[in-house]
Every structure is written in C-alpha cells, then in structure tokens.
C-alpha cells in the first residue's frame, strides 16, 4: 500500500510540476498578471541601471558597457539572462546608431507588413490583430485569463507555430499535439 501511495504522491508531484510550468522553473524572473506570464519588472529596472551605468562609464557611448551578454550570463535565470542580452543589445544599437546599417534590410524582410504597419506604429496590437489572416484559432482567442491560458497555449501550438518551425519540428508537433491535422491521403 505504501508503495502505491508513494506512486500517487509522485504522480501528483509531477502534475504539480507541469502545472507550475515555466513560472516554477524561473521563480523570481517572471510573475503572473491577470493570468498571463510577464517579466519581473525588477529585471528591467536592473537593465535600466546597467544601461545608465554604461552611458556614464563609456567615453565613446554605451557600446559594450550597456549591459547585455556578459552581464546577463552571471547569476541570472535563463529568461532573465536572455531578456537582458536582447534588450541590452537592442538598446545599445539604438543608442549608438548602429541600427542605421540594418535599416535597409527591414522592408525586404517582411511579408505583408505594409497592411498592418500603421497599427503597430500606434502601438495597438489588438487593432492590428483584427485585420490579420493566417493566424487561425489564435486570432479568435481572447487575451487569456487564468483558465484560458492553457487553451491559448494549446491553440498556439496547433496553429501559430506552424509558421515558425522547420519540418522536423512540425512532425513533432503533429505527433504530439494535433493528430487530426495531418492531411488525408487520397
């Protein structure tokens, strides 16, 4: 009996681990707002201070001193380090003006973005999303509350990521999530 009880306890623990999900794995780096996972603002504040410090310390501008990769990898959670690296790099490029060299590549890299760029320019992703095609079930979902979050993630797995992954990952997706989405053979 005790072995069975232990097995159920372990099973319960496993379920709890899954339910806790990402938030459990990176405690402190993320928090939940209205059922949605967000970044702990303290990490952004830390990044802002790094940025300011870099500006003060560097004679030639923010450059490498603006934070980013080197600082990100030390003593931070994976997501904190990644966000630090991404925002530090972007902030540095924007401040120093090194973005200018990449500007010419922007237009060629987007398909159909012209139709929705105005919405983004005004920061209104919701308005933008209303006019979009090709996002399938995701477009019909409301911003998830606590109960809807799992549904949203599931729908994202079914449709949104179809646009993202290479063939091998698509195969994995089909076998693990969407058994009925494989096209029927004639």
């Amino acid at each position: 009996m005790s072995a069975v009880k232990h097995a159920f306890q372990e099973l319960g623990k496993g379920i709890k681990d899954v339910a806790d999900g990402i938030g459990h794995a990176v405690e402190g780096a993320v928090k939940t707002v209205g059922g949605a996972l967000t970044l702990n603002p303290s990490l952004m504040k830390s990044g802002a201070k790094e940025f300011d410090s870099g500006v003060k310390q560097s004679v030639t501008g923010v450059g490498e001193a603006a934070g980013g990769l080197a600082g990100a990898a030390v003593g931070m959670s994976p997501v904190g380090a990644a966000v630090n690296a991404m925002t530090g790099g972007a902030a540095s490029r924007l401040a120093t003006g090194t973005f200018e060299g990449a500007a010419s590549t922007i237009n060629g890299g987007i398909t159909g973005a012209e139709d929705i760029a105005d919405g983004v320019a005004h920061g209104n992703f919701g308005e933008v999303a209303k006019g979009m095609v090709g996002v399938g079930q995701v477009a019909m979902l409301a911003v998830p509350g606590a109960g809807e979050g799992e549904l949203a993630a599931s729908a994202v797995a079914k449709s949104a990521t179809t646009y993202l992954l290479k063939d091998s990952a698509k195969d994995q997706l089909a076998s693990t999530v969407t058994g009925q989405q494989e096209p029927q053979q004639a």
């Binding site: 707002v33 059922g35 949605a36 690296a85 924007l94 973005f99 933008v128």
Partner: protein, 133 residues
C-alpha cells in the same frame, strides 16, 4: 570624431531609451510606450525594425497581451525576428518555445540571436564558453 549634431542625437536617443527602460522597470507601461513612440520618431526607424519591435513586444507581454504580440509576429515573415517570437512564445507558455529557441541557438546565422537563445534555454553561449574566466 563626432559631429556635434550627431552627438546631440545620440544623447537624445540615450535619454529616451533610459527613460523607456526605467518606465518598464517601474511598470509605467504607457510611459514606456510613449518613449518608444518618441524613439521611433527620433530615429526615423520603422515600428517593425527588430530593435524597436523587441521593445514593443516586451511592453505587450508586460501588459498581459503577449497573445496579441504573437499574432502580429506571426503575420511577418517567418525568418523575421524569430528570437523575439521565441521569447513571446515562452511567456505564453507555448510548449514549443524551447524547440524554436534551440533551433535558433544552434543554427541561426546571427551571433546575437544564437547567444540570446542559448541563454534562454539555459545553455552557456559559445561566445562566453570560450572567454577567459
């Protein structure tokens, strides 16, 4: 040597970016968005420029509207800002964020994408692995 006008512009950009980052840290998301809008105006960059888009998406994530951000990203070319997309998927707890991040960490031609994605999956980036202690 920098021209005075260029230095002034750089200072202006730096101040705006600093203000935006602090606003994000203080959870003043409307102010962060206003600063980002100002940054777009000052730089003349598209709202879809990767370095701008990153902050737009982070603001959306912080508003609890990461799903809207992902919808938008999915409307762009699939090779456009895939790292930002992986980050967005992470916060949406999409179970496939990790496979995308791993793919990018291993194979993306851009070093900064490989590095940030390696960090996201908890791997030490190659750029640091070879660095002296």
């Amino acid at each position: 040597m920098h021209e005075p006008a260029a230095d002034t512009l750089r200072e202006q950009r730096t101040e705006i970016i600093s203000s935006m980052l602090h606003a994000l840290g203080d959870e003043q998301l409307d102010h962060a968005q206003a600063q980002l809008d100002q940054l777009i105006e000052v730089t003349g960059l598209s709202a879809d420029h990767p370095d701008i888009l990153l902050f737009s998406v982070i603001i959306q994530i912080q508003r609890g509207q990461g799903l809207d951000a992902l919808r938008y990203l999915n409307g762009l070319d699939e090779n456009y800002c895939p790292d930002v997309r992986a980050l967005c998927m992470y916060f949406l707890q999409d179970p496939l964020w990790e496979s995308l991040a791993t793919e990018l960490a291993d194979n993306d031609p851009r070093a900064h994408v490989r590095e940030s994605m390696a960090l996201l999956i908890g791997r030490q980036p190659a750029a640091l692995a070879g660095a002296p202690a």
